[in-house]
């Protein structure tokens, strides 16, 4: 893998004794569209706030463009090359759209007025409207405009499509894909919308209870994982000592559904050897991967 744009190593953070992050490791490749997934409270926003230096880690480190974000002076240089859409989508309530653009512009030497004007029109943002009068979706678009008008090399987006209507979601996703494709921008975004991740992401990480549970190229993960449906003529065997690589087994009647992450051929052989078993093998969806790894979402057995 080329040098990662974001490298998170052993990141831990607690709030009032409650761990929010627990030794998180991440590597976000340059030019990737990276979907950051997890249930509510899994630690996504905490991770993103550490990328903006709003929070400080208890242990571990975050490097962006190789710059340690724990060093305030150096982190400023990293933030100059980054664009953020924060979870709250809150901007200064006493400013208009035009004023917040005028305010943000001088912080970024590479600000491009043509991009600013293009997205102002594309997102249909009214320049003279006060920020509290904008819907959450409009504020998301405004934050994205502020993030991309300075040719950010890295976009860090915390649930960027939250509050957007389906047409606007498509529009925003198209913009993000376009930026990654034409400008080589790295896009790191958290979301609960698995369909959006499946639509645009080429890399994903799933985080659960502050720990990374799956990470990698989405294509590789899909190629690596398989779902086996094993149908038995009689009742399925009560206890099977499954081979290494079986992640999750779920029984429904005379059918066992088995999620396999590696050793797929060997597990298929093992399943076929079970008395009265017929085995079918399917590719997995992102939804299956997510439900399997976001702990507690489904009942696990086997």
């Amino acid at each position: 893998m080329a040098d990662p744009v974001i490298e998170v190593a052993g990141l831990s953070k607690s709030f009032g004794g409650q761990p929010a992050l627990n030794g998180l490791n991440l590597r976000v490749p340059a030019g990737s569209i990276f979907g950051f997934l997890g249930r509510n409270g899994a630690g996504k926003t905490t991770t993103i706030r550490m990328m903006s230096s709003a929070l400080k880690p208890d242990a571990g480190s975050i490097r962006v463009f190789g710059i340690p974000m724990g060093e305030p002076t150096k982190a400023i240089n990293a933030r100059r090359r980054m664009g953020f859409v924060t979870e709250e989508k809150d901007l200064y309530p006493y400013m208009t759209v035009e004023q917040i653009i005028r305010f943000t512009r001088p912080f970024f030497p590479k600000w491009r007025r043509d991009l600013e004007q293009r997205y102002l029109r594309a997102f249909d943002l009214p320049p003279h409207k006060k920020i509290p009068d904008l819907s959450k979706g409009m504020r998301s678009k405004l934050m994205l405009l502020l993030a991309i008008s300075h040719e950010a090399e890295l976009l860090v987006l915390d649930e960027p499509t939250d509050g957007l209507d389906p047409v606007s979601v498509e529009e925003m996703l198209r913009v993000l894909v376009g930026l990654a494709a034409t400008e080589g921008t790295t896009v790191f975004f958290s979301t609960h919308q698995l369909a959006e991740v499946e639509q645009i992401a080429d890399h994903i990480a799933i985080i659960d209870h502050g720990r990374g549970v799956v990470q990698g190229s989405l294509d590789d993960l899909k190629a690596q994982y398989r779902r086996l449906h094993i149908v038995f003529a009689e009742e399925p065997p009560v206890r099977v000592r499954w081979l290494d690589g079986v992640e999750h087994v779920h029984q429904e009647g005379r059918t066992l559904s088995v999620l396999v992450s590696r050793n797929v051929s060997a597990v298929i052989e093992q399943a076929r050897a079970l008395p009265g078993a017929t085995v079918e093998c399917f590719p997995v969806t992102l939804k299956e991967l997510f439900f399997n790894h976001a702990r507690g979402s489904v009942e696990c057995s086997g």
């Binding site: 903006s52 305030p72 933030r79 924060t86 979870e87 809150d90 512009r105």
Partner: protein
């Protein structure tokens, strides 16, 4: 642009204080026809005392909320969230604080300057026998001596919410004033006295001791505020 942010955030506070002070002046000026003006030396002294209290209030009210976005009369929605936007900008926390403190200090100076000029112009008894140089001395003393309390409010603003910051600082100031009445400070340290009993209006000279004390307090406390802002999480 941080200056613009500071100004937009605080302008209504500044206008509010100016409206209160100038409204009170207008009332006394127009009220002179009905026997409610400044018609004696006692009235003039009371007015100077009231102005000093309002200057101290202005110093606290305009001190800001550290690097967080400050609530205004117009909008409180989305304030805390917008702090995350501020922190995502490529600018140090120390600079954010420095500009905010500078905006508050300048606005406090504007309040002191405007209210003094208007009082001196409208009320001859307040002006008394003081000369232009006395007036400049009074202004300089007031700028410097309010700076200390301003910095106390700046520190409070780094970790207290807005209303707690204002009331907390004012209660601290009143307590301090009460303590200095019970246990008088040496004149060189008496910042309150420099704006009342030992003011240049009476002594016709600059109270260098309290000025140095207040400026020293300002420098030290702003450094403490910067350390808090750099240390804390949002």
């Amino acid at each position: 642009m941080l200056w613009m942010k500071g100004w937009l955030e605080t302008r209504w506070r500044l206008f509010f204080i100016l409206a209160v002070i100038l409204g009170a002046f207008a009332f006394r000026f127009v009220g002179a026809r009905y026997g409610m003006g400044v018609s004696s030396t006692e009235d003039a002294n009371r007015m100077i005392g009231a102005m000093t209290v309002l200057w101290l209030f202005a110093a606290v009210y305009l001190a800001g909320a550290g690097i967080r976005t400050q609530p205004s009369f117009q909008a409180a929605k989305g304030l805390h969230g917008s702090t995350y936007f501020t922190l995502s900008l490529p600018v140090s926390r120390s600079r954010l604080l420095a500009v905010r403190v500078a905006v508050g200090t300048i606005e406090t100076m504007v309040v002191i300057l405007l209210s003094s000029v208007v009082a001196w112009t409208l009320f001859p008894l307040v002006r008394g026998n003081s000369t232009l140089s006395d007036m400049l001395r009074i202004l300089f003393t007031a700028f410097c001596c309010t700076a200390g309390l301003h910095a106390v409010a700046v520190v409070a603003g780094t970790f207290l919410d807005d209303m707690w910051q204002i009331w907390g600082t004012l209660i601290a100031a009143v307590s301090l004033k009460w303590l200095t009445v019970r246990f008088p400070l040496p004149p060189a340290l008496d910042v309150f006295g420099a704006m009342s009993g030992h003011s240049p209006l009476i002594n016709h000279m600059l109270p260098w001791g309290p000025i140095a004390t207040s400026i020293g307090l300002f420098g030290g406390l702003v450094a403490v505020a910067a350390a808090i802002v750099n240390w804390r999480e949002y």
